[in-house]
């Protein structure tokens, strides 16, 4: 039953019934006890993440080059001349800041994803700003990474307004707990941040199909700009998505972890970044609270420590599959 107050808020008792967890609970119960401070560096510095992922054999966007000092930027144009498309990003940026996507060339000029043309001086200046710390938190010095430009799988590209959709998987002790697809809208300006207006779409862990979508906290079924159907879509290479996300646990040792992946047209899923403090909007996207799942995983991990990644995925698929999803969802 929808009550009059639901227009503005939902009661704590109702949230509890839905199994929704809040920030205090995420931090106090799951994040702080399971994530050791010393491991944070492995995910906060994207260059470190990349090198570790390469060692683990995870698919990542190919790293072309790293600029460490301003002097090295002098050779920039000759280094970049080998590549038609690439991405320049800061190693310690957050929320997609400072990411420059070059899709192609026009003569000796570069074409951005949005179609705007940049001169090589402008690209160089962007890299200089990254090195100076313009985009890293606290303004500390940073390094600029140049990596391959991912071309999103056409099945997913057709539901996103610019910007590649990414898949986020949240894990506890390396067991996938929940997953969602984030697609950009005109309002989110190509970014996949939900509070900036991107759409969050929940994914059924068993089938890899989308089940429910939210935009600004409201349930939707169609993309507001493109009018394409958002529900029932299959994430290409879903098994590999789960495999790579789950291996992120072995790689970082972080108990509560979010993995962000993009599905490439040719290569399939690649790991973009890992996140030690993944947000809670995934619950709204799935219309399911995290608490039951996290508690189940906690029990399982205590009872059977040291389970390998494929068994962990099997457990999650069995425990949080289609029927469970249907039974657990928010209901009044």
């Amino acid at each position: 039953m929808k009550k009059w107050w639901h227009r503005w808020l939902v009661l704590p008792s109702e949230l509890k019934r839905f199994g929704v967890i809040g920030l205090n609970e995420r931090n106090g119960t799951y994040l702080l006890p399971n994530n050791k401070r010393k491991f944070y560096r492995k995910v906060d510095d994207k260059l470190v993440t990349k090198l570790l992922a390469r060692e683990m054999g995870l698919a990542i966007p190919e790293l072309y080059h790293v600029f460490h000092t301003q002097q090295q930027l002098k050779d920039m144009s000759s280094i970049l001349s080998h590549y038609d498309s690439f991405v320049i990003k800061p190693s310690r940026g957050s929320g997609g800041r400072g990411v420059l996507v070059i899709k192609g060339r026009r003569g000796d000029k570069f074409v951005k994803a949005s179609g705007i043309v940049m001169t090589s001086q402008e690209v160089q200046r962007h890299a200089r700003e990254i090195l100076g710390g313009l985009y890293s938190l606290g303004g500390s010095r940073d390094v600029a990474m140049v990596e391959a430009c991912i071309s999103s799988h056409h099945e997913l590209a057709k539901i996103s307004y610019q910007g590649a959709p990414d898949v986020r998987v949240i894990m506890l002790h390396g067991y996938p707990a929940m997953a969602m697809l984030r697609v950009a809208t005109r309002q989110s300006d190509g970014r996949a941040n939900l509070h900036q207006g991107a759409i969050g779409i929940g994914i059924d862990l068993t089938t890899g199909r989308t089940i429910h979508a939210v935009h600004h906290g409201d349930s939707v079924t169609k993309h507001p700009d493109l009018d394409t159907e958002l529900i029932g879509l299959y994430i290409p290479g879903w098994d590999q998505v789960l495999e790579m996300a789950t291996k992120g646990y072995e790689m970082t040792g972080l108990g509560y972890l979010g993995a962000d992946l993009i599905v490439d047209e040719v290569r399939g899923p690649v790991v973009i970044e890992l996140n030690a403090r993944p947000g809670l909007a995934i619950q709204l996207a799935n219309a399911t609270g995290l608490r039951h799942r996290l508690e189940k995983i906690q029990q399982q991990a205590l009872a059977h420590p040291g389970v390998n990644w494929s068994d962990r995925i099997k457990f999650s698929i069995a425990a949080f599959g289609t029927e469970v999803q249907a039974a657990e969802g928010f209901r009044n």
Partner: protein, 510 residues
């Protein structure tokens, strides 16, 4: 057992027990009341004399309050190695300290308790004494001409001694754009830099035939901290036969007490660089409590044993944990988003020193000005540290401008804008503009409003009279505060704002 003691609940219990023990001991044994005095406030005024001893025998003479409203013997003094006595000099009480050969920087404290509103500002002229006569002002040349012109204007607009004085005071308030007045102001400012208003006003009174002399007062204001004596004037009202004490510029005497009718406050024979400053703090406990606590062992005595001038900043600092608690409550229970974790506490402290509305307007205008400048800077793509440093400089200049402007308009509050933590302000501007760029104006304004709400809440909690009383006389409550904060650290329930954030959970009908 040991494990239990080190668990959080064990620690919290221990803290609360310890604190309760202290409170009960003070309340039962030392008779410290649990709530502050409701009646009219009592102020504790402390004079702090400091001078440089040169190795010669020393005599220190400090004018003491007297004249019927206060018994100088009631005061007490703290000094090391001095003989002390209260004597009369020209019918006025003075404190007299003497020592043979002190060396180095010397400190002497004298303190006295004053009931609010007990001060006297009128004194009858004894009938036996000669009728006072105004002393002649010897002013030649252009100063004489200018004085005569001002006196003439004042006299025309007055009927008797009282209205004459009022007119003189008005001259100082309005600062008329009059040639003779500006000339004289310049003259007196140069000759008596610190006391020009007093000397100027007295000369005008004397030329009007009104007998007058200078005297000194003390300001009863907690936030002011240590200050020099206030220059006052007493004039003889010939019609009523009384001496009246006033401020040269006619300001309110409401929280000023007349300390002495003597012309000089302090004389030090045999020492150099002598100075006396006054600190007044409001006593929230009945008389005797502070003394009983000061005589207890140090862990009971706490801050009551310190000299008043040391106590004043301490009382202030002890409020910070209360503000911090407010921020913890708002962030973790309510879910308010603020710029910088404890920035609101610093703002709340600034609000304590200024009237609320003035503080808010000043703060918002400074944030706005800073943001405009920051927007200008962002074109240059500066690195972060120089960019914030530039913001600090701008905020400083802005503060100077606001101070000057409000001084010119005549609002003294502006003079204290320096209470705003400038570095914090600059970082706030920086973070706000980053959020503005990244998440849009709404998000930035939302966070600024959140910070202001938290600052006002912190201010309101620090302003509670009972809270101020407790941290001063029962600092043990800080342990309870700590216990509460520790417990809040383990709160894993929902935040108030999350009830709104997750409201669409109720929309889904499975």
């Amino acid at each position: 057992m040991l494990k239990r003691l080190f668990s959080l609940s064990g620690l919290v219990t221990a803290l609360i027990l310890l604190s309760a023990a202290g409170i009960i001991y003070k309340n039962r044994v030392l008779n410290v009341p649990l709530l502050p005095e409701q009646e009219r406030g009592v102020w504790l005024i402390e004079a702090r004399i400091s001078y440089e001893a040169t190795g010669k025998p020393i005599k220190v003479v400090l004018a003491l309050p007297g004249e019927g409203w206060l018994d100088p013997e009631e005061g007490d003094q703290i000094s090391l190695g001095y003989g002390f006595s209260v004597e009369q000099e020209d019918g006025l009480p003075v404190g007299f300290w003497s020592a043979r050969e002190p060396v180095g920087r010397q400190l002497i404290y004298y303190r006295v308790r004053v009931k609010e509103g007990a001060g006297r500002y009128e004194f009858a002229q004894p009938r036996s004494a000669k009728v006072p006569q105004a002393r002649e002002v010897r002013a030649k040349g252009s100063r004489g001409v200018a004085l005569a012109a001002v006196v003439k204007a004042v006299r025309q607009r007055s009927a008797d001694d009282v209205t004459y004085v009022k007119q003189v005071q008005q001259q100082f308030q309005k600062k008329p754009n009059d040639e003779s007045f500006s000339f004289l102001q310049h003259y007196y400012e140069k000759k008596y830099p610190d006391t020009w208003e007093q000397h100027f006003a007295m000369d005008l009174l004397k030329m009007g035939g009104i007998p007058c002399r200078s005297c000194l007062g003390v300001k009863l204001e907690e936030e002011r901290g240590a200050h020099r004596p206030i220059n006052l004037i007493e004039y003889y009202d010939r019609a009523e036969n009384v001496w009246r004490v006033v401020l040269p510029d006619g300001g309110s005497m409401e929280n000023i007490v007349l300390w002495t009718r003597a012309r000089s406050m302090l004389e030090v024979y045999g020492g150099e660089n002598s100075e006396v400053t006054f600190t007044a703090i409001k006593e929230r406990a009945p008389a005797g409590v502070a003394e009983r606590m000061a005589e207890s062992p140090w862990w009971i005595a706490t801050i009551s044993a310190l000299p008043v001038s040391e106590r004043a900043p301490f009382r202030y600092a002890a409020l910070i944990p209360i503000g911090v608690l407010a921020v913890v409550l708002l962030r973790n229970l309510v879910g308010l988003v603020t710029l910088g974790t404890f920035m609101p506490v610093l703002l709340g402290l600034a609000f304590l020193e200024l009237p609320m509305s003035a503080a808010l307007i000043m703060l918002l205008s400074m944030l706005f000005g800073g943001l405009m400048f920051r927007a200008m800077l962002s074109k240059f793509n500066l690195l972060v540290v120089p960019r914030v440093a530039a913001c600090v400089v701008i905020v400083t200049i802005f503060m100077m401008a606001v101070s000057l402007l409000s001084y010119k308009i005549g609002a003294a509050d502006g003079l204290r804008v320096t209470v705003f933590p400038m570095i914090v302000l600059a970082w706030t501007i920086e973070r706000m503009s980053l959020i503005w760029d990244e998440e849009g104006a709404i998000s930035a304004i939302y966070q600024v409003v959140g910070s202001l709400v938290a600052a006002v809440a912190a201010f309101a909690m620090m302003k509670i009279e009972a809270a101020r009383y407790w941290v001063e006389y029962f600092p043990e409550v800080l342990l309870i505060l700590l216990a509460v904060i520790l417990l809040l650290g383990r709160y894993t329930g929902y935040r108030l704002t999350e009830l709104f954030r997750f409201r669409s959970a109720a929309d889904v009908n499975a």
